[in-house]
Protein backbone atom coordinates (compact mmCIF):
# COMPACT_ATOMS: atom_id res chain seq x y z
CA UNK A 1 0.00 0.00 0.00
CA UNK A 2 1.43 3.37 -0.96
CA UNK A 3 1.54 6.40 1.27
CA UNK A 4 -1.64 8.37 1.78
CA UNK A 5 -1.76 11.76 0.21
CA UNK A 6 -3.87 14.84 0.72
CA UNK A 7 -4.96 17.42 -1.83
CA UNK A 8 -6.43 20.67 -0.64
CA UNK A 9 -5.50 21.94 2.78
CA UNK A 10 -5.76 25.04 4.86
CA UNK A 11 -2.38 25.82 6.35
CA UNK A 12 -2.92 27.73 9.56
CA UNK A 13 -1.05 29.13 12.52
CA UNK A 14 -2.14 29.12 16.12
CA UNK A 15 0.23 31.65 17.62
CA UNK A 16 3.60 30.57 16.19
CA UNK A 17 2.52 26.94 15.78
CA UNK A 18 1.61 25.34 12.47
CA UNK A 19 -1.50 23.29 11.94
CA UNK A 20 -3.20 22.04 8.77
CA UNK A 21 -6.80 21.08 8.02
CA UNK A 22 -8.42 19.25 5.14
CA UNK A 23 -10.04 21.91 2.96
CA UNK A 24 -13.05 19.71 2.27
CA UNK A 25 -13.89 19.67 5.98
CA UNK A 26 -14.19 23.45 6.09
CA UNK A 27 -17.69 24.59 5.14
CA UNK A 28 -16.95 28.27 5.63
CA UNK A 29 -14.42 30.74 6.94
CA UNK A 30 -15.79 33.38 9.25
CA UNK A 31 -14.71 36.34 11.29
CA UNK A 32 -14.38 35.51 15.00
CA UNK A 33 -16.87 38.17 16.05
CA UNK A 34 -20.11 36.61 17.15
CA UNK A 35 -18.93 33.03 16.54
CA UNK A 36 -18.44 30.59 19.39
CA UNK A 37 -15.18 29.05 18.30
CA UNK A 38 -12.62 26.96 20.14
CA UNK A 39 -9.24 28.63 19.78
CA UNK A 40 -6.58 26.36 18.30
CA UNK A 41 -4.08 28.10 20.59
CA UNK A 42 -5.49 26.06 23.48
CA UNK A 43 -3.81 23.00 22.02
CA UNK A 44 -0.48 24.74 22.58
CA UNK A 45 -1.20 25.99 26.10
CA UNK A 46 -1.55 29.58 24.88
CA UNK A 47 -4.29 32.12 25.70
CA UNK A 48 -7.31 32.01 23.43
CA UNK A 49 -7.40 34.21 20.36
CA UNK A 50 -8.14 34.07 16.65
CA UNK A 51 -8.44 36.23 13.59
CA UNK A 52 -10.29 33.68 11.47
CA UNK A 53 -12.69 30.87 12.25
CA UNK A 54 -12.97 27.61 10.34
CA UNK A 55 -16.51 26.28 10.45
CA UNK A 56 -17.32 22.65 9.74
CA UNK A 57 -20.49 21.43 8.07
CA UNK A 58 -21.75 20.28 11.46
CA UNK A 59 -21.34 23.78 12.85
CA UNK A 60 -18.22 23.24 14.94
CA UNK A 61 -15.77 26.13 14.78
CA UNK A 62 -12.04 26.44 15.37
CA UNK A 63 -10.27 29.78 15.60
CA UNK A 64 -6.84 30.30 14.05
CA UNK A 65 -4.51 33.24 13.64
CA UNK A 66 -3.51 32.88 9.99
CA UNK A 67 -4.53 30.71 7.10
CA UNK A 68 -3.57 30.07 3.52
CA UNK A 69 -4.80 27.60 0.97
CA UNK A 70 -2.52 24.85 -0.28
CA UNK A 71 -3.92 23.19 -3.38
CA UNK A 72 -1.03 20.90 -4.32
CA UNK A 73 -1.13 17.23 -3.28
CA UNK A 74 1.22 16.13 -0.54
CA UNK A 75 2.01 12.74 0.93
CA UNK A 76 0.89 12.25 4.51
CA UNK A 77 3.53 10.94 6.89
CA UNK A 78 2.11 8.66 9.58
CA UNK A 79 1.88 10.23 13.01
CA UNK A 80 3.57 8.46 15.91
CA UNK A 81 0.90 6.87 18.15
CA UNK A 82 2.16 8.98 21.04
CA UNK A 83 1.41 12.16 19.09
CA UNK A 84 -2.03 10.90 18.06
CA UNK A 85 -2.87 10.17 21.67
CA UNK A 86 -1.94 13.60 23.03
CA UNK A 87 -4.05 15.26 20.35
CA UNK A 88 -7.10 13.32 21.46
CA UNK A 89 -7.06 11.28 18.27
CA UNK A 90 -7.55 14.35 16.06
CA UNK A 91 -4.06 14.15 14.53
CA UNK A 92 -4.16 12.30 11.21
CA UNK A 93 -0.54 12.64 10.16
CA UNK A 94 2.01 15.19 9.04
CA UNK A 95 2.68 16.89 5.73
CA UNK A 96 5.81 18.64 4.55
CA UNK A 97 4.92 21.95 2.92
CA UNK A 98 7.26 24.87 2.30
CA UNK A 99 10.03 22.77 3.78
CA UNK A 100 8.31 22.52 7.13
CA UNK A 101 6.38 19.82 8.91
CA UNK A 102 2.68 20.53 9.53
CA UNK A 103 0.41 18.47 11.78
CA UNK A 104 -2.73 17.57 9.82
CA UNK A 105 -5.83 17.32 11.97
CA UNK A 106 -9.48 16.53 11.35
CA UNK A 107 -11.49 19.70 11.94
CA UNK A 108 -14.44 18.10 13.75
CA UNK A 109 -12.26 15.89 15.94
CA UNK A 110 -9.92 18.78 16.71
CA UNK A 111 -12.79 21.07 17.67
CA UNK A 112 -14.10 18.36 19.99
CA UNK A 113 -10.62 17.94 21.46
CA UNK A 114 -10.30 21.68 22.10
CA UNK A 115 -13.68 21.80 23.81
CA UNK A 116 -12.51 18.93 26.00
CA UNK A 117 -9.45 20.90 27.04
CA UNK A 118 -11.73 23.63 28.35
CA UNK A 119 -13.65 21.00 30.27
CA UNK A 120 -10.44 19.68 31.80
CA UNK A 121 -9.42 23.17 32.91
CA UNK A 122 -12.82 23.77 34.45
CA UNK A 123 -12.82 20.44 36.29
Amino acid sequence: MGPLSVRGMLLCHAGPHRIAFHAHEVASIASPEGVSAASARRAFQAPDGASRVLVSSSGGAVGVDTLEIEAEPHPVLPAPPLAVRVSGGSLQGFVVVQGKLWPLVGLVDFERFLRGLVGEEAA
Partner: protein, 144 residues
Protein backbone atom coordinates in the same frame (compact mmCIF):
# COMPACT_ATOMS: atom_id res chain seq x y z
CA UNK B 1 12.33 -9.99 45.83
CA UNK B 2 14.29 -10.96 42.75
CA UNK B 3 17.24 -8.77 41.97
CA UNK B 4 17.97 -8.40 38.30
CA UNK B 5 21.48 -7.68 37.24
CA UNK B 6 22.38 -6.38 33.81
CA UNK B 7 23.45 -9.16 31.53
CA UNK B 8 27.21 -9.23 31.47
CA UNK B 9 27.38 -9.26 27.70
CA UNK B 10 24.83 -6.54 27.17
CA UNK B 11 26.11 -3.14 26.15
CA UNK B 12 24.42 0.15 26.82
CA UNK B 13 24.56 3.56 25.26
CA UNK B 14 25.35 5.89 28.14
CA UNK B 15 24.34 9.53 27.93
CA UNK B 16 23.55 12.50 30.11
CA UNK B 17 20.60 14.78 30.18
CA UNK B 18 21.62 17.67 32.39
CA UNK B 19 23.37 16.33 35.48
CA UNK B 20 21.74 12.89 35.33
CA UNK B 21 23.18 9.92 33.46
CA UNK B 22 21.13 7.31 31.67
CA UNK B 23 21.80 4.05 29.91
CA UNK B 24 19.72 2.48 27.20
CA UNK B 25 20.34 -1.01 25.78
CA UNK B 26 22.61 -0.58 22.79
CA UNK B 27 20.40 -2.73 20.58
CA UNK B 28 17.59 -0.19 21.08
CA UNK B 29 19.76 2.89 20.52
CA UNK B 30 19.61 3.48 16.80
CA UNK B 31 21.72 6.61 16.53
CA UNK B 32 22.52 9.99 18.00
CA UNK B 33 21.16 12.93 16.04
CA UNK B 34 21.14 16.69 16.10
CA UNK B 35 17.52 17.50 15.44
CA UNK B 36 16.23 20.51 13.49
CA UNK B 37 13.54 22.97 14.50
CA UNK B 38 10.74 20.96 16.01
CA UNK B 39 7.07 21.02 15.14
CA UNK B 40 4.85 21.19 18.17
CA UNK B 41 2.13 18.58 18.44
CA UNK B 42 -1.34 19.85 19.35
CA UNK B 43 -2.15 18.88 22.90
CA UNK B 44 1.37 17.77 23.73
CA UNK B 45 2.52 17.99 27.35
CA UNK B 46 5.62 20.11 27.98
CA UNK B 47 8.02 17.15 28.03
CA UNK B 48 6.98 16.23 24.49
CA UNK B 49 8.96 18.96 22.79
CA UNK B 50 7.72 18.26 19.29
CA UNK B 51 8.46 16.12 16.28
CA UNK B 52 10.83 16.13 13.36
CA UNK B 53 11.05 14.17 10.14
CA UNK B 54 14.02 11.85 9.87
CA UNK B 55 14.47 9.54 6.88
CA UNK B 56 10.76 9.63 6.13
CA UNK B 57 9.68 8.96 9.68
CA UNK B 58 8.13 11.46 12.08
CA UNK B 59 9.87 11.13 15.42
CA UNK B 60 8.68 12.55 18.74
CA UNK B 61 11.28 14.24 20.93
CA UNK B 62 11.03 13.84 24.70
CA UNK B 63 12.87 16.14 27.10
CA UNK B 64 14.14 13.47 29.47
CA UNK B 65 15.12 16.03 32.10
CA UNK B 66 11.64 17.48 32.18
CA UNK B 67 9.99 14.07 32.15
CA UNK B 68 12.10 12.57 34.94
CA UNK B 69 13.10 15.49 37.13
CA UNK B 70 10.82 18.31 36.05
CA UNK B 71 13.81 20.35 34.91
CA UNK B 72 14.02 21.27 31.26
CA UNK B 73 17.34 20.70 29.52
CA UNK B 74 17.82 22.63 26.33
CA UNK B 75 19.64 20.39 23.91
CA UNK B 76 19.44 19.86 20.17
CA UNK B 77 20.95 16.39 20.43
CA UNK B 78 18.99 13.25 21.03
CA UNK B 79 19.39 9.51 21.26
CA UNK B 80 17.00 7.72 18.94
CA UNK B 81 15.49 4.71 20.66
CA UNK B 82 14.03 2.34 18.11
CA UNK B 83 11.59 -0.43 18.92
CA UNK B 84 9.29 -2.42 16.64
CA UNK B 85 6.44 -0.16 17.67
CA UNK B 86 8.23 3.07 16.75
CA UNK B 87 11.04 5.47 17.40
CA UNK B 88 11.49 7.95 20.19
CA UNK B 89 14.13 10.68 20.53
CA UNK B 90 15.43 11.31 24.05
CA UNK B 91 17.28 14.58 24.56
CA UNK B 92 20.93 14.19 25.46
CA UNK B 93 23.36 16.88 26.53
CA UNK B 94 26.36 14.53 26.49
CA UNK B 95 26.87 11.10 24.97
CA UNK B 96 29.55 9.00 26.64
CA UNK B 97 29.36 6.05 24.27
CA UNK B 98 28.65 2.35 24.48
CA UNK B 99 29.83 0.54 27.60
CA UNK B 100 28.80 -2.17 30.05
CA UNK B 101 26.70 -1.38 33.08
CA UNK B 102 27.02 -3.03 36.47
CA UNK B 103 24.63 -3.12 39.38
CA UNK B 104 21.00 -4.03 39.75
CA UNK B 105 17.94 -3.29 37.66
CA UNK B 106 15.26 -2.59 40.20
CA UNK B 107 12.73 0.16 39.51
CA UNK B 108 13.98 3.47 40.86
CA UNK B 109 10.53 4.45 42.04
CA UNK B 110 7.10 2.99 42.70
CA UNK B 111 5.14 5.15 40.28
CA UNK B 112 5.34 7.18 37.13
CA UNK B 113 8.31 7.18 34.80
CA UNK B 114 10.61 6.04 37.62
CA UNK B 115 9.10 2.56 37.35
CA UNK B 116 10.80 2.32 33.97
CA UNK B 117 14.18 3.56 35.18
CA UNK B 118 16.27 0.82 36.74
CA UNK B 119 19.17 0.73 39.15
CA UNK B 120 21.17 1.43 41.16
CA UNK B 121 23.69 0.86 38.42
CA UNK B 122 27.04 2.20 37.34
CA UNK B 123 28.83 2.70 34.09
CA UNK B 124 32.44 3.13 35.08
CA UNK B 125 32.44 5.78 37.80
CA UNK B 126 29.03 7.17 36.86
CA UNK B 127 25.73 6.43 38.53
CA UNK B 128 23.29 5.68 35.74
CA UNK B 129 19.59 5.05 35.49
CA UNK B 130 18.98 2.21 33.07
CA UNK B 131 16.03 2.93 30.81
CA UNK B 132 13.56 0.16 30.06
CA UNK B 133 12.63 1.25 26.52
CA UNK B 134 9.44 -0.80 26.29
CA UNK B 135 8.26 0.48 29.65
CA UNK B 136 9.08 4.06 28.73
CA UNK B 137 7.07 3.71 25.52
CA UNK B 138 4.17 2.32 27.51
CA UNK B 139 4.41 5.13 30.03
CA UNK B 140 4.40 7.82 27.36
CA UNK B 141 1.63 6.11 25.43
CA UNK B 142 -0.65 5.85 28.42
CA UNK B 143 -0.99 9.50 29.16
CA UNK B 144 2.16 10.53 30.95
Amino acid sequence: MAVHEPEARQSYLVFACGSSWYAVPAESAAEVVTFPELTRVPGAPPHLLGVFAHRGEVIPVVDLGLLVAGVSQSSRRAVLVRLPRGTLALTASTVAGVSPVTGTLEPLGPTGVHVHLRGPAKSGPRDVAVIDPEGLFDHLSQGA
